[in-house]
Symmetry: C2
């Protein structure tokens, strides 16, 4: 029997800003034979993340840039199709950094997680019950330390992290203000994700709308954008405010570093903090987060939206599409049956 | 007997940037009779602080602006000359926000501190053993959490807060890098305050010198300046770095807010934090700080410099002089004998 063919999305050239379809190419090669201790994962869902721009960037980042010619680094969720490690049974649902490809030959230690929640869709393991949900959970609860009655502002509020942050903040008894782009996403924030107020940053009177929403001041700003949105929010901080720096989606390039209003005076007069974090530093937090998130999903308290492209041929343009705002909800690529 | 005459430095008009001599005037009035529960303090030393610019500013700050026509708000150290409160004996050394004037009629609750360390000069109560030392102690130890072997960078390193920060960091086993302006202050940092490296921000190759000094990265940046100095330091942060925002001496006006390189990417990729604070929020920390500081001063481990102007007529120009860099060490005005 011939080995299966592995389609792989590889980096063709290094983007200087937002990665476009032309920076990738799809190649094919046969899946190698397993050696002792190896496991063959059939990827079912490939994740598409805003952070991939950083993973592909040559300048200052939190992980080594993906080498030109390599399979694109990506979280995937899939099934174990063959196993030469007794700890990893055939049929297990697993996630890991298994790349934009049909198959990955990995070791048990490469598996991020064997998914226990088989009652929930496999796709959730890459979003609300995956790194996005865990990021929201850690950043908001551990760094933001929300107290009942506090006001929490979230940028990219309709996104996969932002929508979790808003709902978790609500579960803590906070008042939630979502910032998003366009009337559709604004309504999603209100109707799907239960934000108390949702503000469209593309509206001509955004600053006034935000000021009205933040009349009582902002205690926690969960920042996924940087840029002009954040500049507007920072003028409304309350004393002791916590700004959680989770992403910088509104800044198209950090080379050179763009300018913006200096933050020091806000931080000083408001006794406020800005704290950056990268969720991969905190694996000890994952289990508690999965437990909470799964319970909230089952209870209908944590809703999520997915934007699923079908077919690996959509991968090369998928990051650019995120930055164009094509998607509603967590973007995934489905390349096999569950 | 005629009551003594009280010379008072009053705010004549509100400065829009750095307060100059012309914004003040010196007036005179008789000291009123004491009522029950009141205390008459004879001010001996008047403090001059960079923060006074903020106290005089009409825009966003951490205290109400000094009203036009009022006596200039200032910390002073003096002697109790008369008392109608049995808790405050005549002859006690005290500090408080008693203003730029010869005499203040106050109540026991207005006294910030009855000075116990009569073996140390009274002037220290306004500097190294006063708000400057306590600010350095709290900001560095509580917010910076220095660990032995870490690298600590301090701006305005020859100043009254910065010089304390550097020496306290050294006592914690840290490597210390001071940033200051000019060769005289640079040598003071090395010779008086024991910094491991001192860099002159006015040097044409400042960026290169700083980069060389920070080759191992910066774990704590104690920021007294904001501006271009901070921009340079932030490019050298280590993972998990703590930036303590204590002052913004390098920014001449915050109205409108000046621009600078955005900080979010540094904070994110370095998992770093920026934290503003105002020492007046933390009175519960003062006693422990005074205890440490007095012990270090007596032990010769904490050195300090004072720049003492003699005569109240120097007060109106004294803030402008700070921003011109006239002073070496903590600036005080001596208006009576100890």
């Amino acid at each position: 029997m011939n080995p299966p063919i592995n389609r792989q999305v590889r980096l063709r050239s290094r983007p200087s800003a937002i990665p476009q379809a032309e920076h990738f190419e799809i190649t094919q090669e046969p899946v190698p034979e397993l050696e002792d201790g190896q496991v063959l994962v059939r990827n079912v869902y490939l994740s598409v993340e805003p952070a991939m721009r950083g993973w592909l960037s040559a300048v200052g980042n939190y992980s080594e840039p993906v080498p030109v010619g390599a399979v694109m680094r990506a979280f995937t969720a899939g099934r174990v199709q063959a196993s030469r490690d007794s700890a990893v049974p055939v049929g297990a649902w697993v996630t890991g950094l298994f790349g934009w490809q049909d198959y990955a030959v990995v070791r048990a230690g490469d598996i991020q997680r064997q998914i226990a929640e088989r009652d929930l869709p496999l796709s959730t393991a890459l979003g609300v019950l995956g790194i996005n949900g865990v990021t929201a959970h850690y950043g908001l609860l551990q760094l933001g330390r929300p107290q009942p009655g506090e006001t929490v502002v979230v940028s990219t509020a309709a996104g996969s992290v932002g929508s979790c942050v808003g709902q978790i903040a609500k579960l803590q008894g906070c008042r939630t203000i979502g910032i998003t782009g366009g009337e559709t996403k604004r309504r999603m924030c209100l109707e799907q994700f239960g934000f108390d107020v949702a503000v469209d940053y593309k509206a001509p009177d955004f600053a006034q709308q935000l000021a009205a929403a933040c009349a009582g001041g902002v205690d926690i700003y969960y920042d996924n954008t940087s840029g002009a949105i954040s500049d507007a929010v920072l003028t409304h901080l309350n004393k002791g405010a916590r700004v959680i720096v989770c992403g910088t989606a509104a800044v198209s390039s950090w080379d050179p570093i763009p300018s913006g209003p200096r933050v020091e005076r806000h931080l000083l007069t408001k006794r406020a903090s800005m704290q950056g974090f990268v969720i991969f530093d905190h694996p000890e937090h994952y289990d508690a987060a999965y437990r909470d998130l799964a319970q909230w999903i089952r209870g209908g308290q944590l809703r999520y939206l997915e934007d699923i492209l079908v077919g690996i041929e959509h991968a090369p343009d998928a990051i650019a599409g995120l930055y164009r705002g094509d998607n509603l909800g967590k973007r995934l690529i489905r390349i096999a049956e569950d």
